[in-house]
């Protein structure tokens, strides 16, 4: 049991479309949602779950829309939230962007989807690739009635049979995001790598794939403990991967969905040297000016290069007359974000750059204190993974016996990369 009804509301709380699944709660109850949300927000007690005597609202917000689910029971709330996000994802795949306008433009399909995604509060088929095979936007021609794709109820519910490509290809992207939290004294409080292997699969038929990584657990169990390997702390797989097989012998085997999807994600808690390190000296002269001295250091191998490096430095909201000086890149003041952005298109390893900024401050100070947002860094380093993870092989077996080529790309980028300031 999860949802009694699902509503999509605009930012003011007006119902754009709704669907009642269980009929145990008066649909009018939604009138109470917005006032309650405002009230909680004012009290500073806002949570994604709001309780009223009649029911519980759980909601997510996206693109100025509220997706709200109601329930009267002790629902599996984790399921509700994951499902609400799934709805947004499915609709986004249908209409590019889920927003007020696209809902009005596609209400017939949305009703159909809401009918197929969930039944009596129990989520059913939520794979948009498969849904698109029998729920389409164009409407059906009178003569041919759509049939349910076999996949809907198959054990392989994410791939239809009979897919054909002239050229069979697979693209693998290994993307590692580095999360970093450092305090103002320059100590790293927390650093972790969140990796993801994304695939674009253009393969015919029902191919069986097997992916080999330099996984430490696997290497140790097969007596290759000496080779360079990576210890994956926690791995999460797309539903196509056979989990019990992985649990048994660490084999990643699967029949992939067609097209683009995320095969797996992993997390490592290793302490790596921060790839881009920022030192900041901020001198505030109250009522007159504030000066910044920002030093950026790249701490990875010289033969790698970080692209599109953006260093976002927060500045006081009432700062004025910006002046910048830098040896490389460009600096922009974004008053709407209360920040300056220092952009360096290409930042080779083992280098150090400097930037100075100067702002005037008004003589009258603004009353409300401002927070101390951290400095954030964005970057991309191609052909490089921090963890050292490697794709050793990707075997593709299909009964027709075609040859398919896998292409692998590695990239490291920033995740939640925050350095606190004084």
């Amino acid at each position: 049991m999860s949802s009694s009804a699902i509503y999509i509301l605009d930012v003011k709380g007006k119902v754009l479309i709704s669907r009642n699944y269980r009929g145990d709660i008066d649909m009018g109850v939604i009138e109470k949602f917005m006032p309650l949300l405002m009230e909680k927000e004012e009290e500073g007690l806002l949570t994604p779950i709001l309780q009223t005597p009649e029911c519980t609202f759980s909601y997510i917000k996206t693109n100025n829309l509220y997706i709200v689910s109601t329930t009267k029971k002790n629902a599996n709330i984790a399921l509700v939230f994951v499902f609400l996000h799934k709805i947004v994802q499915v609709m986004a795949e249908y209409f590019k962007e889920l927003e007020e306008e696209s809902i009005r433009d596609n209400f017939v399909v949305i009703y159909e989807l809401l009918d197929e995604l969930i039944d009596f509060g129990y989520p059913q088929t939520t794979d948009s690739k498969i849904l698109q095979e029998y729920i389409t936007q164009e409407g059906h021609k009178l003569e041919i009635q759509p049939r349910i794709p076999m996949a809907v109820t198959n054990a392989v519910s994410w791939r239809s049979e009979g897919i054909k490509y002239r050229k069979n290809e697979v693209f693998l992207d290994v993307i590692e995001s580095v999360n970093l939290l450092a305090n103002a004294n320059g100590n790293v409080l927390r650093s972790e790598i969140v990796g993801a292997i994304k695939m674009r699969v253009y393969l015919s038929g029902m191919p069986e794939l097997r992916l080999g990584l330099n996984d430490k657990v696997l290497f140790e169990s097969t007596g290759r403990g000496k080779s360079k390997s990576v210890e994956l702390e926690d791995v999460k797989f797309h539903q196509c991967v056979r989990l019990s097989r992985f649990e048994n012998d660490r084999t990643i085997s699967f029949i992939p969905p067609d097209g683009e999807f995320e095969l797996m994600s992993y997390r490592l808690n290793t302490h790596v040297k921060p790839l881009i390190w920022i030192e900041s000296v901020i001198e505030r002269h109250a009522h007159s000016r504030v000066e910044y001295m920002i030093k950026a250091k790249s701490q990875f191998k010289r033969r790698s290069t970080a692209n599109n490096v953006e260093i976002v430095i927060p500045v006081p909201g009432d700062a004025d007359s910006p002046k910048f000086k830098t040896t490389i890149g460009s600096v922009k003041y974004a008053p709407e974000q209360n920040a300056i952005t220092w952009t360096i298109k290409s930042f080779p390893g083992g280098k150090e750059y400097l930037m100075r900024a100067h702002f005037g401050l008004p003589s009258v100070e603004c009353e409300d204190s401002e927070g101390k947002p951290p400095i954030q860094v964005k970057f991309e380093i191609p052909y490089f993974t921090t963890s050292g993870i490697q794709v050793r092989y990707l075997k593709i077996i299909e009964k027709s016996g075609y040859q398919a080529l896998p292409w692998v790309r590695y990239i490291t980028q920033n995740g939640d990369y925050q350095l606190r300031t004084n």
Binding site: N20, A78, L84, R104, D105, F107, V108, Q145, T153
Partner: protein
Amino acid sequence: MTDSKYFTTTKKGEIFELKSELNNDKKEKKKEAVKKVIASMTVGKDVSALFPDVVNCMQTDNLELKKLVYLYLMNYAKSQPDMAIMAVNTFVKDCEDPNPLIRALAVRTMGCIRVDKITEYLCEPLRKCLKDEDPYVRKTAAVCVAKLYDISSSLVEDQGFLDQLKDLLSDSNPMVVANAVAALSEINESSPTGQPLVEFNTNTINKLLTALNECTEWGQVFILDSLANYSPKDEREAQSICERITPRLAHANAAVVLSAVKVLMKLMEILSGDSDFCATLSKKLAPPLVTLLSSEPEVQYVALRNINLIVQKRPDILKHEMKVFFVKYNDPIYVKLEKLDIMIRLASQANIAQVLSELKEYATEVDVDFVRKAVRAIGRCAIKVEPSAERCVSTLLDLIQTKVNYVVQEAIVVIKDIFRKYPNKYESIISTLCENLDTLDEPEARASMVWIIGEYAERIDNADELLDSFLEGFADENAQVQLQLLTAVVKLFLKRPAHTQALVQHVLSLATQDSDNPDLRDRGFIYWRLLSTDPAAAKEVVLADKPLISEETDLLEPTLLDELICHISSLASVYHKPPTAFVEGRSAGIRKSLPARQGSAEESGTAQPEATVIPNQESLIGDLLSMDIGSSIPTPAVSAQPTSNIDLLGGGLDSLLGGGSGTDLSAGSVPTTTGLLGDIFGITTTSTMYTPPKACWLPAEKGKGLEIWGAFSRRNGQISMDLTFTNKAMQAMTGFAIQFNKNSFGLAPSAPLNIGALQPSQSLETGLTLNTNGPVQRMEPLTTLQVAVKNNVDIFYYACQIPIQILFIEDGQLDKRVFLTTWKDIPAANEVQYTLNEVKGTADTLANKMTHNNIFTIAKRNVEGQDMLYQSLKLTNNIWVLLELKLQPGVTHATLSLKSRSVEVAAPIFQAYDTILKLV
């Protein structure tokens, strides 16, 4: 071309226009019209008047049109029940359509139309669809049974749909299995009797575990959630389920992961805690829980609320993961607050430095609520991690220096708690606190400050001036500040009577004459009378030692915690309330409790010693009078919630019906009244554990008229001392309290003595629940227990003997092989023999009798005509005792050999054997 054009027709006579369009002969026109109707419905216009015209469009081969008409029907059938009947024929026909999509659509929609007349016609098509050749139709029909049950449970039961649903659990298609299991779980939850209608057995569980590997992510959640309701019959089955579920922890869907965590947490109760398997499992749980913190913020919030429970239940799982709970700048506030809570729970001596520096950082942020909570967290760390107290205090002082008003106020509130926890340690900072007196404007902070001044009046030179300055605005103060002021001034007077008489008179008159607040007036009068009749007594009352405050604040009560663990990932786990608290009526479902290992009561008791301190009578009074800064004082988490009564009954019922899952009743610190309730239920379930008759422990002549009879008993794994107090004196007795001396088994009362006043010649019975967490000291003989009972007359001492069988715990059964190896391992020097006389009955009846007393027979052998019984038992202090009982047919005496690493326990155990065997 978009659908938005359908919304634009707002001319007059719209309904009329639509009507004619709906009746148009052209299919295309019809479809357009229906879309317009649905568009109007979507924006909230009432288009029910078009009911017959729309239903007329139902018979079409256009699927899109059909779906729209069905949607219309679902919305308006209830308001037009009579006309809805027009649709029945089409529905029934559609259920036979060659296209499975249409069959499923029809049966799905019919289930959603809650009109009696339609429901009647639903049964036949539903029965067919449940056996449909297409799995898509079957899986839809499975859910439809749950829909029908919601409308009419009797119809489902009478028409045999439950059996059909049960058959679907063996369906070849995993999605059908998943939906069938979801429907069955829902039906079980809402069963009117509170008993599940369909019980799962090992066989079905195996089928579910197989389907688990193949069905969709949502189906996996349904299956895992229903597995969570299943109690395996033994440890081996539990372990094998765990093994098959663990791979789910690597699923990308957070709901699958959390549901798997729920099942594992529940099954770990059954597994023996010290096994390797359990340890590995614990280790496997941490990484997925941590990864949940990288999901969407709403999912993070649910995960954090659940982690809060998991950390309380099994602190080991995440004890090394403190850093992942550090707050990020852009976390939503609800995530920040929850992370803070967990940081405090995980704080320990090992990580306190990091935690404090984080908390200090948070205390300088801008969000007021978050900052306040961070400051409070620093205080809680000081109380929880004693060696860090000093650092916490200095951090708080730093924060006070910032002069940010709400930070200062919050800091003062927590410093008051620190003073209470560590008296006479940090008073040097009082002067700094006093500097901020003027800036305090929140009642709680003011009251705390006043309390500090009163408590340390002798060290603050100008305490009288300070308090005097507060008195000027006495009438405008908040009630809690007024109460504090009154008490503080009285304390000041008692400590420094010299120049404060005028002040105390002033405050007493303010409290008793100028106030309308009855609490304040009463307290004023009490003080007044105390001070005027007996200043020495006043001193004893007002300046009494205060009870210690507990380390862990707002821990959940253990039984509630156990129940919530069974509800991981559900709303209950987010609210931290049992479902009965927010779900109405029968749909609240059956109360869930963790499965019990045999006799796990003691284990859980020793594993999580309650941080409660039982205040003696005086300090209670002292507490009542001088402390009422209610919410901020961390009080020991004793169950006193109104809901717990209901729970208790529920639990009792469970054990009545389920046959002995009595842990709810006996776990943790249950107040005496509930213990009694437990007894009532207990009597019906547990059979005769031998309880000796009451003996006179304190004769009236020694007790100055107080006579005590008593006996020990053990019910449902709970030891209690049943006492009868009789007053044979001429005057009423009051102020009863009981204390035990240190004893061999660490027996101690779990709750204070529940006896108020005892009138002359009155007799009162009470049950005192005991635990074995008290101080241990070897007594001679081993089973001696020295007891002190106090009342208003005097203190009386007596000693009694603990019958050792009450210390035999319920999981004293050794595995055969373990028994053998242990028997061999224990040196022969530790073997004692004893001859039992007057043994009657066969080996089986004896073994049976023994089992009732927690002496477990592991094996029985017949060697040369002699019956050999191998038995084991375990004492509350984890001493294992292995026994071999040799019975000869036709002979009334038997030989008992005992082996144990602590052979001292032999004598009382032989005695226990004697008593038990004599029972009829």
